[in-house]
Amino acid sequence: MSGVELEVQLTAVVVAVACALPGVFLVLRRMALLSDAISHTVLLGIVLAFFVVEDLSSPVLVLGAATVGVLTVVLVQAVQDTGLVREDAAIGLVFPALFSVAVILISRFAGDVHLDTDAVLLGELALAPFRRFAPGGVDLGPRSLWVMLGILALNVLFLVAFYKELKLVTFDAELAAALGFSPLVLHYSFMGVVSLTAVGAFDAVGSVLVVAFMVAPPAAAYLLSDRLPRVLLWSAAIAAHGAVAGYWLARWLDGSIAGAMAAMVGVDFLLAFLFAPERGVVAQARRRASQRTEFAATMLAIHLLHHEGGPDADRECRVGHLPEHLRWSPERARFVVGAAARDGLVRVEAGDRLALTEAGRLRARGAMTA
C-alpha cells in the first residue's frame, strides 16, 4: 500500500466516523432526512461566502456553509410552525429551493470558478491527497484529512461534553425540558455540529454520500444494540469498515470512491438487517418458527391429555392420526412430534403410539389454565 492509498483511506475513515457519530442522534431523533437537506443547502452557504471572500480555500466558506445548514433547520421548523405544511413536506420544500438558488447563483455568476455542481453532489475523494496541508513548508498530509480530523475531534468533544443532555433530549425531550435543560439550545448547537460535519465531509464525498454515512451506519448499529454507547461504537465501526471496503471496491472497479463507500455501508446495513442477532430478519424468522413449533407441541400435548386414558385413546393418540385431527400435513406432524419428543413432552412408543410424559401433562394443563 502506497502512501497515497493510505492517505485516501485514512481520510475516508475519518470522514465516515465523523458523520456516523452525530448520525446516531439524527436517526434516533427521527431527523435523518435533515442530513439530506443540510448536505444540499450548505452549497448555498459556500456560494454566498465565496461571493464575499472570493477565495475557495478560505475557512470563511466552511463557516458560511455551516450557518446556512443551521438556517435550513430553522427554516424547515418555521415552515412547519405555520401549521399549514407537515414536516416531511417542509423539508421537501425548503432544501430544493435553497439548492436551486445556489445552482442558479453558480451558473450565472460563478461560471468561471471551479465550483461546479457535479463536484458538489458527487465529491471526489481520490483528489484529496493533491491538496496538501503544509504549514511553513512542512508537508503534514492532505488538507482535507486535517480538516476532517478537526471536525471529528469537535464531534467527539461535543458528544462527550453533552452526552447526558443529548441522551435525555433524544429519549425524553419533555423530561429534559422539565429538568431545566433547554432542548432548543442543544438542538440548534447539535444541528450546528451536524452542519459543520456535512460541510467538511461534502467537500470529500459529496452531499448524497454524507447522507449515506449519517444514516446507514447508525441505522445498522441501532439494529445491533439497545445501549447508546454500543450503538455509537458500532456506528463508528461500521462507517470505518464501509470506508475502507468501499475504497478497495472502487479501486477494483475503477469507479467513484464515494459511491463505492455508500454502496458498502449499504451492504453493511443489509447484513445487519438480515443477520442482527435479535432484530435481524433471520433471527425474527427463527424466533417465529420456534414459537410456532412450541405452540404446535403444546397443542399436541393438549390433544393427548384430552384423550389420555379415554375409550378412543388407542385411535387418537397415534402419529398417523394427527393429520386428520389437527389438520397437519404428515410431514408437519412427524416434525412436531419429533420436536415435542426432544423437549421431553411426549414419548413415541411401539406402533407409532404416543404417550404424554409428566412434563407434557404439565405443559398442557399450564396452557389450558393460563
Binding site: V27, R30, M31, A32, L33, S35, D36, H40, V79, T82, L84, V85, R86, D88, A89, G92, L93, F95, P96, A97, F99, S100, V101, V103, I104, S107, R108, T117, D118, L121, L122, V208, L209, V211, A212, M214, V215, A216, A219, Y222, L223, L249, A250, L253, D254, G255, S256, A258, G259, A260, M261, A262, A263, V265, G266, F269, F273, R279, V281, Q284
Partner: protein, 378 residues
Amino acid sequence: MSFLREILFDYTLRNVALGAAALGLASGALGAFAVLRRQSLLGDVVSHAALPGIVLAFILTGSKDTLVLVAGAFGAGWLGTTAVSTIRGRSRIPMDGALGIVLSVFFGIGLLLLTWVQGRPDAAQAGLDRFLFGQAAALVSRDVGIIAVLGAVSLAAVGVFWKEFKLLSFDPEFGATLGFPMGRVETLLTTVLVLAIVVGLQAVGVVLMASLVVAPAAAARQWTDGLGPMVLLSALFGALAGVAGAVTSASMPGLPTGPAIVLAATGLVALSILFAPCRGLAWERARRIRRHGRLRAEAVLADLFALYRQHGSLAHGHPAAVLEALRGDPRAVLPALAELEERGDARRLPDGTWALTGAGRDRAESLFAEPSGRGGAR
C-alpha cells in the same frame, strides 16, 4: 406576447415548455397523494434511487434511448420504494431512516456504476449524467411525447382508481373493512408515482424532482379541503411552474431550467401559504386583527355600561377622556368607540360625549351583568 410566439414557433422552447408542463401536471397530481400520505420525500428518494437503474439499463442494452433509460429508472425506483417499505416492515428503523438509507445507498451504487461505465474505453456513455442534473433544453419532441404518454398513463390510473386512492389517503383501515385490497392499492399508487417521477428526471434532474412532487401539492392544499379540487389544482400548479420555469430560463442566459422550475413552484407555495383564503397566513392575521378589534370594543362597552349603571340614564354622556382613563391602552378607545357607534351600541351626543344606545345597553346587560347585581342600578 412575444413569449407566446416563441413558445409556439421556437422548436426547442416549445419542447421544453410542453415537456415541463406535462411533467408538472403528472407529478403535481400524484404529488397530492404523496403529500397527503406524509410521503412527500418519496420523490426525493425515488429520483435518487433511479440512478443505478438508468446506468444498468444502459450497460445491459448499450442503448441511450430515453424509453430504455426511463424503464431502467422505473425499475430501480420501484425497487427503492419496495426496499423502504421492507425496511419499515421488518425492522424498527423509522421511516425517515429507511428513506435516507435507500436514497443514499442506491445513489451511491448508481454513482459507482456510472463512473465504472465512464472508465471503459468506449465513449458511448456520454450524456448519461443528464439524468443527474437534468437538461430540459436537450428535450427533443420524442422525449416530450414519452413524457406526455407516460404522464397520461399515470393520470389515467388516478382517474380509474380514484375511489381506492382516496380511501388509501384518508382511511386505509376503513378501505380494508370495505373489502378493498389496500396493500395492492398502495402498491399501485406507489408504482404510478414512481412512473411520474422517473419521467421527469431527464428534464429537471435528481435533486429538483423532489420539489416537483411536494411543492405543487403543498400549494394546492392551502386553497381547498377537497381531494378532487386539490389534485386538479396541484396538477395545474405543477404545469404552471413547469412552463414558467422553462420560459424564464429560456429567456435568461445562464439560468438553468431545473432550478428555475423549482423556484417557480416554491414561489407558488409561498404565495399560497401567505394568501390562500381561510388557511393563508395573511387571512389568519386579518382574522386576528378583527378579533382584537372586537375585544377592544367589548371592553369599552363594558366601561360605558358601568358608567351607565352609576348614572342610570342613557342620555347622560361621558367624554372620551374618561373612558381613556379607565383603559390601560388609551389609544385603543377612539377606534373602539367608532366601532361601537357603527354597530349601533353607542352614540355620540351633540356635546361630543358618548353614551350607550338602548340596543347597546341590552347587549351589555346580556354580556356583563351578573344576575345578583341586576336591578340595583336600575
